[in-house]
Amino acid sequence: MAESKNKKSDCFWGYFMIAPNMIGLGIFFFYPFFKNMYNSFYDIGAFNVTKWAGLSNYKKMISDTVMWQSLGNTFKYVLIIVPFTLVLSLLVAVLLNTKVKGQSVFRVLYFIPAITMTAAVAIVWRWLYNGDFGILNYILGLFGIPSRSWLSDPKIALFSISAVSIWMGVGYNMIILLAGIQGISGSYYEAASIDGAGPLKKFRHITLPLVTPTLFFVMTTSLISAFQTFDVIYMMINSNSIALNSTQSVVLYFYRNAFVFSKKGYASAIAMLLFVIIMLITALQMKLQKKWVNYG
């Protein structure tokens, strides 16, 4: 009797307590998920006039060279940003984990870019990169390196943007990796010391394998955010820049189609493509993780 009353009350409180969040997620996430698929088969023009378009948005995508170029750019961003961010944040984390004095001061300073607004940071970097008055060219000039137009030269603009993303990401990921490294039991290192292992050996055979679960986490989140690079490009490259096509990411191209060119149906199809790609990458990562992630 009391049992069944308890069950009833559990049922009530369960649904009652998940209701606000689940209703909100339903309206703003589940419904949009299906709505976006639906929209990708329509033409949605100015004033949201909607017309059935069948597969035409997808067909258009296949022949849209700008779209393919932005997809290529996105892969370049991922391939540059993710490895550099991971290696540098792991390096800083490992160095901070040695008995350096002022570890907490270093941690705080490295973390600052992680809590600052990308828009603000991009504005400053844009100024540092400026071809005529930028301090970067001036400093390089002191070493006899010729000036460059870091953001308007289509050949190098993508790398300049990637550098800012890496610069922003290192502190954040370093904090997570450092916590992972500090969670490794000291007894492993003591045992290795008794066996006469040096710091490099310890890193290779203890730190690296045991930090792989954290590394996997950091890699997954960096991958997804690199695939969706938008803020830095939007803030650093003007819409009339000659470097636009060679720096535009899929998300930026999606944004421009949806909110600048008012081609919302086509933009939905682009979002679908991004969704499918990220799903494939996530699945691939899950499969590959068994090969290198060590769950002890």
């Binding site: 009350s9 559990d10 049922c11 409180w13 369960g14 649904y15 998940i18 606000p20 969040n21 689940m22 909100g24 997620l25 703003f28 996430f29 589940f30 949009p32 998920f33 976006n36 350096v100 270093f106 941690r107 705080v108 490295y110 973390f111 600052i112 809590i115 600052t116 607004m117 990308t118 828009a119 603000a120 940071v121 504005i123 100024w127 540092l128 008055f133 301090i135 610069w167 290192v170 997570i176 916590a179 992972g180 710091p199 950091v218 695939f227 969706q228 803020d231 939007y234 803030m235 944004y255 949806a258 909110f259 919302k264 933009a267 939905s268 979002a271 969704f275 990220i278 799903m279 996530t282």
Partner: protein, 281 residues
């Protein structure tokens, strides 16, 4: 004995080497901010001088006043604060409630609903943007303050994060309270919520960082200057007054200041809060 001395020297050399790398890294990390602050006090011609001048000859505080002439900056500041505070508060309440239910109450369909919710986590956030925009447009909220925070009041990630904390609390706490006749809501609000403070702090920090800094959503929904947030305002400032570098840098300084101050006050919580997200299970 020589070997021992050698070894000690080796240690010293390694230590020096480590400091050099770390300090070089700090310089690269910090100097753009210093340059931003210094430039914000220079005159326009000083800012553009080659070779560059490090310190402004006079400290031109009026650059900061000029920002307020160009944009309703005070209003924009206020919008950002309101939007961030509402987002953080709502997520803490909604996520912790649903996290408690998913973690500690058995009800029919719980696992299925939880899995469905997790699927939201796998999907790139830009995928939801356009339909979210169309919803806000349909209910007539474009160019309003609620538009800034509406979709972000709810979170699958926050629920997932807090559920881990609720699960890790011992069952005895609950059993004792239930014998005393407490219902689930009381157990949640009076007993368990105070015990998962680290989780709440972590979620608050991550959400604050996101909503304060987010660019694309506020850019899309609010186009009139007095309804913008700081990120969108900076992009507007740069687009309209691209050559007034000191004022733009001043705007950037003002925009990042509140989070920097909070970070200075709560360093430990910020760093631990972020670090926690990597240690799941």
């Amino acid at each position: 004995m020589f070997a021992a001395v050698n070894r000690k020297n080796n240690f010293k050399i390694t230590a020096v080497f480590i400091y050099i790398i770390l300090i070089a890294g700090v310089l690269v990390t910090i100097s753009p901010f210093l340059w931003m602050i210094l430039t914000s006090f220079k005159t326009q011609s000083e800012a553009m001088r080659i070779p560059p001048v490090l310190l402004p000859s006079d400290w031109h505080f009026e650059n900061y006043i000029r920002i307020f002439d160009k944009l309703p900056f005070g209003r924009i500041y206020f919008n950002t604060v309101i939007s961030s505070v509402v987002t953080v508060a709502a997520q803490l309440i909604f996520c912790s409630m649903s996290a408690y239910a998913f973690g500690r109450i058995e009800f029919p369909g719980r696992n299925a609903i939880f899995l469905a919710m997790l699927s939201v986590l796998m999907i790139p956030s830009s995928f939801f943007l356009l339909p979210q925009y169309l919803i806000i447009q349909k209910i007539g909220l474009l160019n309003t303050i609620p538009a800034l925070f509406m979709p972000n009041l709810f979170s699958a990630f926050g629920t997932f994060l807090l559920r881990q904390f609720f699960i890790s609390l011992p069952d005895e706490l609950e059993d004792a309270a239930r014998l005393d006749g407490c219902n689930h809501f009381r157990i949640y609000s009076k007993i368990m919520l105070p015990l998962i403070k680290p989780g709440l702090t972590s979620l608050a920090i991550l959400t604050l960082r996101f909503s304060w800094n987010d660019l694309m959503w506020p850019l899309i929904v609010n186009t009139s200057a007095d309804k913008m947030t700081l990120s969108a305002g900076l992009s507007y400032l740069q687009g309209q007054y691209s050559t007034d570098y000191p004022a733009i840098m001043g705007g950037a300084c003002l925009s990042i200041l509140p989070l920097l101050i909070l970070f200075a006050m709560f360093q430990k919580q910020f760093i631990e809060g972020i670090a926690l997200t990597g240690i799941k299970d």
